[in-house]
Symmetry: C2
Subunit: 485 residues, 2 copies
């Protein structure tokens, strides 16, 4: 591995601003996030550094879901053909993308799960009898599989990806809709507040909702090339799946009704795409402190003569940070400069350099990955660092928020939208409707402007005034338009 | 769910001693560990209670693996036909059991991974160049898939199961063999010392090793019916896979050699079988304190009048156990007696009962799940409980150790072995050889005694004296014979 890394950092990364796509392809391989060399279309290996980040991200999401009273389950990775095909819209949406398994003769046909509504709903039918069993809020972590025939890209679009699926059942529509809002809140608490990735919670146009849902709310995140990537989406399934599976409950008065269900799906491997793309720079990854597998890397600078002393000093410093993930890079066969590059490439938020100079005066040199500033600190003031650590993630978040905010441009004409989209930004504009009647205007936007109607803000009603910029009929909504992944 | 549970506990469980098989089938459904009603042969749903236990078990194993310098990766769930078929012994062993996927025309055939040697070894080839990159110790958590055509049983034998796979590469055979011993140590530290499941680490006869391994060491655990179940096994692959995949490294002197590899596979869902079967009793599960999703359940006994006071008191007690997983069962629609049964069935180690009587004198009634003793304690002496919690797991472990120890019977004749096996015990005896030349004697044991040669102790050399009990030729080994799952 040594040889390879040296070559990479020597060669340098593409510039993120100049050629984001190339930068992304390079950084995920060089920072050892993934390896695509198994050569199976849409299937990748996530390497230890990437896996450790993903594990931390899972931890944050699972903790939050459990705090909100969701319980974990482990569903099979397969679905019987009979169940998969029970809800008709769902079938149409997903069947073309399904991997089928060859089973034994005489056995039911099995599909690898592309999503798990048709596993959870039959269990709801079995587990829920009365209002006492409600709400039932579950989730699972694991892979799903989609036989995507389009071009795949590592972590962005794959045939297998790692996510969490939360499926929930309620007694009333109101409770189910509250869950949808709570899900947006989880995205806000974790993806935005923890990982520093701001998003637009957008109710999707009816032609763009999840196959089988009453409505879908996606979380749109802006990428450095100006395109939007869909992050966790949450769906009101209403009674569509419960009717297909005949999943009912008895209310307080003994009356039967179909369950109201919702689903929420943070794709952890995809959120990692936004973490990499939003915070990274031309030197490599910049990982939020809260999810970096190593939060502080100590690079001791020593000779054969003073090695023992310096390493002892490094260990003393490490011991002062017991609540953090700290490592000392003691590898003799790499130079300090090589190690600096390596850990910058991998995005470790803080580096502590210590050599003879620092040791003599009980000092340490602190390097901050994001603004790449160095500072000489006394060991006596080491408590000061707790504040630095906190500020680090806050700084990443504020920068990302500024980018998103500056990318949203109010537009009053088609020409303005065209210009905004060309500049890699998001157009906000009056639009006739995200229901069926708006589909023609959406098609115009797709063909003529090469962009999509992404939807309307789901957390706050934005009141439209004036007419649709496309068809000039009265505008029912204010929509966000952008190019998308 | 309410109705169902009430019926179950009324009906009562089968007696574990009388009919273990039925007891097992009942308890895994009634304690809400699994649900098999999706009706796909070999695929089950693990319910929240079961999943929470499995998650805790994963945590223990992953922490220990990371402590021993293993790093996690996420491998694809699929393997290309070309890679799967590279190692010839491996192909023969696994190909009949593989689920094949239907992919797009012109694309490579893909198999669902039955085990992941053929995913890890090609990556070793790419990631390892020199001795500097060694050892490389990795693991992944996830599912594997086997198209088992035999009778499947929930958690014991399934077509999909949850495990950890650790794959490791070394520069020398000695280092690889040390890893195999370290793996046995991990089974000891976690499965035995934490979960209270003692085992026999047995080097398997050559006809019973993993397909592609030089040798296999299994961990045999005794079940209440006297049969042995194989728990984590570890394999010296030697250079078989590295040769098949041409995975080499350069040593200090610049000479090339093939990697030495090992694999270790704790199947978490299967270890749960032993936890359930070993510790459970006629009232339900008995979960080790360290993995129980709820460690202490507080059941408040109240009327409408004093509910507020009693619940407040329950919360005061809960606050005293912040480092433990404690819950208060506040559900109005169940009686205290129903709740007692419910939490005993689910195996919660400690129950605290509080009512008017306890409240008045700042007392609590403590119920211990394993010996079902009750004790009145003063809130002032609550610190005493830390010791109780520790002793609980120790007690489960000691009981299990006694059972295993008493089950191993030294045998000097075929007749003795027959008798021991009939009694549901393990025969320890002189045997000619676990290499090829012993296969005829093994076949005799299988046919005439309906039992298997499970292997020889792998952690300590037991010296044989005398002749093989079967063929009467000089005995090279002392083997353990038992019936098996």
């Amino acid at each position: 591995m040594a040889e390879k890394k040296e070559k990479s950092t020597e060669k340098g990364l593409s510039e993120k601003k100049e050629n984001f796509s190339e930068w992304y392809s390079q950084i995920i391989e060089r920072a050892e996030i993934v390896d695509t060399r198994l050569e199976m279309k849409g299937f990748i290996v996530v390497r230890p550094w990437g896996t450790l980040i993903i594990e931390k991200m899972y931890d944050f999401y699972e903790e939050e879901l459990q705090k909100k009273n969701h319980k974990p389950v482990i569903m099979p990775s397969v679905i019987s053909e009979a169940n998969l095909k029970k809800e008709s819209d769902h079938v149409q949406g997903f069947t073309p993308e399904v991997f089928w398994l060859k089973t034994e003769k005489g056995e039911d046909k099995l599909a690898l799960r592309p999503t798990s509504e048709t596993l959870f709903t039959p269990m709801f039918k079995l587990w829920i009898r009365s209002h006492r069993d409600l709400p039932l809020k579950l989730y699972q972590r694991g892979s799903v599989f989609r036989l995507d025939t389009k071009a795949t890209r590592p972590l962005i679009r794959g045939r297998e990806f790692q996510w969490i699926e939360s499926h929930n059942a309620f007694a009333t529509k109101k409770q189910a809709e509250n869950q949808v809002q709570e899900d947006i809140g989880i995205t806000e608490t974790i993806m935005h507040q923890k990982f520093g990735i701001p998003f637009l919670p957008l109710k999707r146009p009816t032609w763009d909702k999840f196959a089988g849902a009453e409505y879908t709310i996606g979380s749109d995140v802006i990428m450095p090339d100006g395109k939007l990537i869909q992050q966790p989406s949450t769906h009101l399934m209403g009674q569509k799946f419960s009717k297909a599976f005949d999943a009912k409950f008895k209310d307080e008065k003994g009356n039967e009704d179909y369950l109201w269900t919702t689903a929420y799906g943070p794709a952890i491997s995809r959120i990692l795409v936004s973490v990499i793309s939003t915070h990274g720079d031309d030197k490599g990854l910049v990982l939020p402190f809260c999810i970096s597998p190593i939060q502080i890397i100590i690079v001791p600078i020593y000779t054969k003569e003073n090695k023992e002393k310096i390493i002892a000093y490094a260990k003393r410093i490490k011991n002062k940070f017991k609540k953090y993930r700290v490592e000392i890079d003691e590898r003799d066969f790499y130079t300090p400069g090589w190690k600096f590059n390596e850990w910058e490439l991998k995005g470790v938020p803080f580096r502590i350099e210590i050599g003879e100079k620092e040791l003599k005066k009980d000092n340490l040199t602190l390097f901050l990955r994001d603004d790449r500033k160095k500072e000489l600190l006394s060991l006596r003031n080491i408590n000061k660092l707790d504040k630095y650590f906190e500020e680090f993630d806050n700084r990443l978040k504020k920068n990302a928020e500024k980018i998103l905010k500056n990318s949203i441009i109010n537009c009053k004409t088609k020409e303005e939208i065209k210009k905004v989209i060309k500049e890699g930004k998001i157009a906000k504009t009056n639009f006739c409707s995200i229901e069926k009647e708006g589909i023609k205007c959406a098609e115009y936007v797709e063909k003529e402007i090469n962009a999509d109607i992404r939807g309307i803000l789901a957390t706050k009603k934005e009141i439209s005034s004036g007419n649709c910029v496309i068809c000039n009929k009265p505008a029912k909504e204010i929509v966000y338009i952008g190019r998308s992944y």
